[in-house]
């Protein structure tokens, strides 16, 4: 089901945990759908100095959380906001189609955490315009045309 890289990030997830007195915290997801992710950030000089996550979810949710945090660590906020779900997927070497939606959480959680940081510090990022952390991520359809 999952490739080696995904399994590696699932079995040995990077950056698990919670930053105490974090500069920004974002939690997204929905208990109904079975995946929730929380990201906490330490920001220094506009750079993501530290990032940690906690994820309740399936293998792909955990692995993409791990991969995303690893990719983002050390980036400027602007660069981090450019990282998309697709980039994470690519780094992971792909996920099974029905699992792709489980990987969007990481992007969402990061945005939510940065939004939290921005709100606390009176900052504004145009990449976050229109973003709402409470919006449900899209799910795939259940009909078939071959």
């Amino acid at each position: 089901m999952y490739n080696k890289k995904v399994m590696d990030h699932f079995m040995n997830p990077r950056n698990v945990g919670e930053i105490e007195n974090a500069d920004g915290v974002g939690e997204v997801g929905n208990i109904k759908c079975g995946d929730i992710m929380r990201i906490s950030l330490r920001i220094k000089d506009n750079v993501i100095d530290d990032i940690k996550f906690k994820t309740f979810g399936c293998g792909s949710a955990v692995a993409s959380s791990s991969m995303a945090t690893e990719m983002i660590k050390g980036m400027t906020i602007e660069d981090a906001l450019k990282v998309t779900n697709k980039d994470v997927l690519k780094e992971l070497g792909g996920l099974p189609t029905i699992k792709v939606h489980c990987s969007v959480l990481a992007e969402q959680a990061l945005k939510a955490a940065i939004l939290d940081y921005a709100n606390k510090n009176g900052k504004h990022y145009k990449e976050l315009e229109g973003f709402s952390p409470d919006e449900d991520h899209p799910h795939d359809e259940h009909e078939l045309e071959v």
């Binding site: 992710m37 929380r38 699992k99």
Partner: protein, 384 residues
């Protein structure tokens, strides 16, 4: 690494006797049973021999058994028979049936049938009085499963059947999980039709059967050749049928021992795992499949648990949304009233004839660490 298979309710490995019967049949018994020549006639005889092994396992007459390609086909066929032979537009089933019944009922709804999906209590039982209340003049079928495949609950089938009988309504039961795990005697039963599947009793995949009580009107679901007394077309899956027969023969001979041995292992496993904090046992404590343990662990998600179990060689299943490929946790866990956050953390371990006590000990030993690890990673776990 040793592999510890604890997913017998999903499918079973084949027993050596069954395997060798099938392997031989694949090679030797290739004749088409509809043929005149000896090679074909021998195949036909072997089919009847197999039917003769399956019959005593369920206390039926051989002529009451029709082979199908699976439990799913048997379920679909039973609903089809009711639709085509009974006047009326209403059927009754329950909320925690297998999808093979539920989705067949939903397809019937699209055709204009009305279907009552009875709710169940926390054990998975329907309310018999409610069942009676829901019966209408145009009710053509009651279909309630014998043993639930997720939580293992054994339904009060004869009480349900007695109501059906009293009201003159056809009664079908999905017996896929009951076969070989519960003593069955159709000759003294109220069941009119029962679905079965070989790969749940150490037989091969791709072969099943529908028991149909003598005196019931039958129409085919699959149309074509004259096989199965014109009621189920297609060249018979001879090796599959032979293997199903052998599996049934063994199941019949070993039923009592099987149930006794598994029940002990099951209860040991359950007691061991229920030591884990924030765990919830699902299904009825005693009226249950002898090999089924189903527990929800709070704050964690099922698929992750399965992956970590797989990493230590344990095969198990879960009713979490992610494992079913759908958005919600299993309809069974929802049906017995579990909230989402608990249902997502479900683990089903089902034991079978190759399970030994060491396997149970192994899981009791290693599962707590896995739960702990996932809880540490979960944002839902309360901070200590």
């Amino acid at each position: 690494m040793k592999q510890i298979y604890m997913d017998y309710s999903a499918t079973t490995p084949m027993k050596p006797e069954v395997l060798s019967a099938m392997q031989e049949a694949l090679k030797e018994t290739y004749g088409n049973p509809s043929s005149v020549y000896s090679l074909g006639q021998e195949a036909k005889e072997k089919i009847e021999e197999a039917r003769g092994y399956l019959a005593p396992l369920i206390g039926a007459k051989p002529r009451e058994i029709f082979f199908t390609s699976s439990g799913t086909e048997a379920d679909n066929w039973a609903v089809h028979i009711a639709k085509k032979t009974k006047p009326g537009k209403h059927m009754i089933t329950c909320a925690i049936e297998h999808h093979a019944v539920l989705h067949t009922m939903e397809a019937a709804q699209k055709e204009g049938y009305e279907v009552t999906f009875l709710p169940v209590d926390r054990y998975g039982f329907i309310d018999l009085e409610e069942l009676e209340r829901e019966i209408r003049d145009d009710t053509i079928l009651i279909s309630i499963m014998y043993v639930n495949n997720e939580i293992g609950t054994i339904m009060p089938i004869e009480e349900i059947g007695a109501i059906a009988k009293r009201k003159g309504i056809l009664f079908h039961t999905d017996g896929v999980q009951a076969l070989g795990n519960v003593p069955l005697d159709m000759s003294s039963s109220t069941v009119d039709m029962m679905s079965m599947s070989a790969h749940k009793i150490y037989g091969p995949k791709g072969i099943g059967a529908l028991y149909i009580r003598q005196g019931t009107r039958v129409v085919p679901l699959l149309h074509g050749g004259a096989q199965e007394r014109r009621m189920r077309a297609s060249t018979e899956n001879v090796p599959g049928i032979i293997a199903f027969g052998e599996a049934a023969r063994l199941a019949e001979a070993q039923l009592e021992d099987h149930v006794e041995r598994l029940t002990k292992l099951r209860d040991k496993l359950k007691d061991g795992l229920m030591q884990i904090p924030d765990s919830f046992f699902n299904g009825h404590p005693t009226k249950r499949h002898p090999g089924n343990v189903n527990i929800c662990f709070k704050y964690i998600e099922g698929e992750s648990m399965l992956l970590l179990l797989d990493a230590i060689g344990v095969c198990a299943s879960s009713g979490s949304a992610c494992t079913s490929g759908s958005l919600d946790p299993s309809h069974v866990l929802m049906g017995i009233g579990l909230p989402h956050e608990i249902a997502h953390g479900s683990l089903r371990l089902t034991l079978g004839d190759f399970t030994v006590e060491e396997d149970v000990d192994y899981v009791i030993k290693h599962l707590p660490g896995i739960i702990e690890r996932l809880r540490e990673m979960s944002p839902l776990t309360p901070q200590k």
